[in-house]
């Protein structure tokens, strides 16, 4: 059976060639997971959020307009909202737990990894990690990343250069 990778939707005067959801999910899954891994700094959370992101994208796939951006940028926007919602609910959970179980130790979290680079990445802030992920790993352009993050292009490139500089310094310190 031949796989359908793109469909054409047309209304009078509005003709849009859109890829299929399954094709997009197949090609962008690793990118979204990579981004969430860098953003959260936690493999387990990143895996959960990746699944959630694609479920959310599946529900609102009809609203995706390829003329307004790439599927990757659109998915990263959803992933970011999902991650922020997760951080918010985690914060509430932590506050509740601090109130009722101050003495309990923090649950052990699965970090990025045990290497030098992973450790250095873990010491960056989530905002710095996400800009590195979007620009360096996912190779999205500056204006797209700025749009996903909701900041200006200048702020985006400043954040990226600061994050890479800190990362380099930490790596150099680790090597020395």
């Amino acid at each position: 059976m031949k796989a359908v990778n793109a469909v054409t939707t047309s209304w009078p005067g509005l003709r849009v060639d859109r890829p299929t959801f399954s094709a997009v999910a197949e090609s962008e899954l690793d990118a979204v997971h990579r981004y969430l891994l860098f953003l959260t700094g936690n493999r387990t959370v990143a895996e959960d959020l990746t699944g959630e992101t694609f479920e959310k994208a599946f529900r609102i796939w009809r609203r995706f307009d390829p003329r307004r951006g790439t599927p990757r940028a659109w998915l990263c926007g959803i992933a970011r909202t999902t991650a922020l919602d997760h951080f918010r609910s985690e914060e509430r959970r932590r506050r509740r737990e601090e109130r009722y179980a101050r003495d309990l130790p923090d649950a052990e979290e699965t970090a990025l990894g045990s290497g030098e680079l992973e450790t250095a990445l873990g010491r960056l802030s989530a905002a710095e990690r996400e800009v590195v992920a979007l620009r360096v790993l996912l190779e999205l352009d500056g204006p797209t990343v700025a749009r996903v993050l909701g900041i200006s292009t200048t702020a985006c490139s400043t954040r990226l250069s600061r994050a890479l500089k800190r990362l380099e310094e930490m790596m150099r310190d680790a090597r020395d």
């Binding site: 509005l14 399954s22 690793d30 529900r59 009809r62 951080f87 790993l137």
Partner: protein
């Protein structure tokens, strides 16, 4: 610290390479979970498309659409109004068989014949001749524009003189001036048999902007009055004849005398009415208005259809603009509040995001 720019570049490339080499592929269970989602069943609808429209994008689309709709409505309004007026202009330009109309009015009893209303261009005066041998109430009104106030005085005097020249008189004169503009309203009574000449002389006092003629046939009225006069005279003569008899009882004599007095009174009344009717029929009434003002009506009438349509469309747009301005003024507090709310919530959301990301 990197010794040179080359070292820096090399370190940076190594860092990027290391970052990209990190094991970040999605695990199999996540991949299977995503694959299991399949393909959304429902196709895209127009509602989905509308949901993708952002506020700035919607405004970018809606604003030109609204302006276009408004301009189209203005053009249609202008065209419809100008075509409505054109019928009036056409009737003004259409040559009228006035003489025939006057004759028709005479034959049919009482009629009023408008010659022209507000007219598109300065008029060449035209007037139906009074029907010879018939009694008619002949009324005409004429609006004549003169150059200035000085000319207005001269023409008023000239019109008065004209009325006397033709054996008529001036029934009333009302002259007024105000800030460089003036107006004279004259009512002239001219013998019907000379009304045509008088009318054309009056029309030459300036530029005719409006004229109107009314002819009311009085022939039937005069005939009725005359018949009644004859009837009353016969009745009075008969009563007089009857009263000459000496054998009449006293009560009958008294009743006849009362009848004769009533008949004489009615005769006097009908005779008076008849004389008034004949006087009315012998003298025409010309209402002459002399003005130094530029007639607004004449200016309106003088415009072409395109000019009228443009003017109507312009006034429609001005009205719509006034409504929009009014709504903006009324709704401006709400708009300011809405903008403040949007900007405030956006700033709050960004601050909240920064806080969450720094805590993560």
């Amino acid at each position: 610290m990197p010794a040179t720019d080359v070292d820096f570049e090399r370190e940076f490339e190594e860092l990027v390479r290391d970052l990209r080499a990190l094991p970040t592929a999605a695990p199999t269970d996540v991949r299977e979970r995503v694959r299991a989602l399949g393909e959304p069943a429902r196709p895209r609808t127009l509602h989905d498309l509308l949901l993708t429209l952002s506020l700035p994008r919607s405004l970018l689309v809606l604003a030109p659409v609204c302006v276009l709709a408004l301009v189209s409505a203005a053009v249609i309004h202008g065209l419809v109004n100008s075509s409505g007026n054109s019928g009036h202009t056409a009737s003004a330009k259409q040559p009228l068989d006035l003489r025939a109309q006057a004759e028709h009015g005479a034959a049919g009893g009482t009629s009023t014949t408008p010659v022209f209303g507000a007219l598109a261009k300065p008029l060449a005066p035209s007037l139906p001749t009074p029907a010879a041998g018939r009694y008619q109430d002949y009324e005409a009104s004429l609006t004549v524009r003169v150059k200035d106030v000085d000319a207005l005085h001269d023409r008023t005097a000239e019109a008065t003189q004209l009325a006397r020249t033709y054996g008529g008189y001036v029934a009333s004169v009302d002259e007024s001036t105000n800030s460089g503009n003036g107006r004279s309203d004259l009512v002239l009574r001219i013998p019907v048999n000379r009304v045509e000449d008088a009318y054309f002389r009056l029309a030459r006092l300036g530029t005719v902007t409006e004229q109107h003629l009314s002819i009311r046939d009085l022939d039937q009225v005069v005939q009725t009055q005359r018949r009644r006069i004859v009837q009353l005279k016969v009745q009075i003569a008969r009563i007089d004849e009857a009263l000459k008899s000496s054998s009449l009882p006293a009560d009958v004599r008294l009743r006849l005398e009362l009848q004769r007095d009533a008949a004489k009174q009615e005769l006097a009344q009908v005779t008076g009415s008849n004389k008034a009717t004949l006087r009315e029929a012998s003298l025409s009434r010309i209402s002459l208005t002399l003005t130094s003002q530029k007639a607004a009506v004449a200016t309106k009438g003088g415009m072409s259809r395109i000019e009228r349509a443009a003017r109507d469309a312009g006034s429609f747009l001005a009205g719509a603009g006034a409504v929009v301005l009014f709504l903006l003024i009324v709704l401006s507090p709400l708009i300011v509040l809405a903008l403040a709310w949007i900007l405030g919530s956006r700033a709050y959301r960004r601050r909240e995001e920064r806080r969450l990301l720094s805590a993560a």
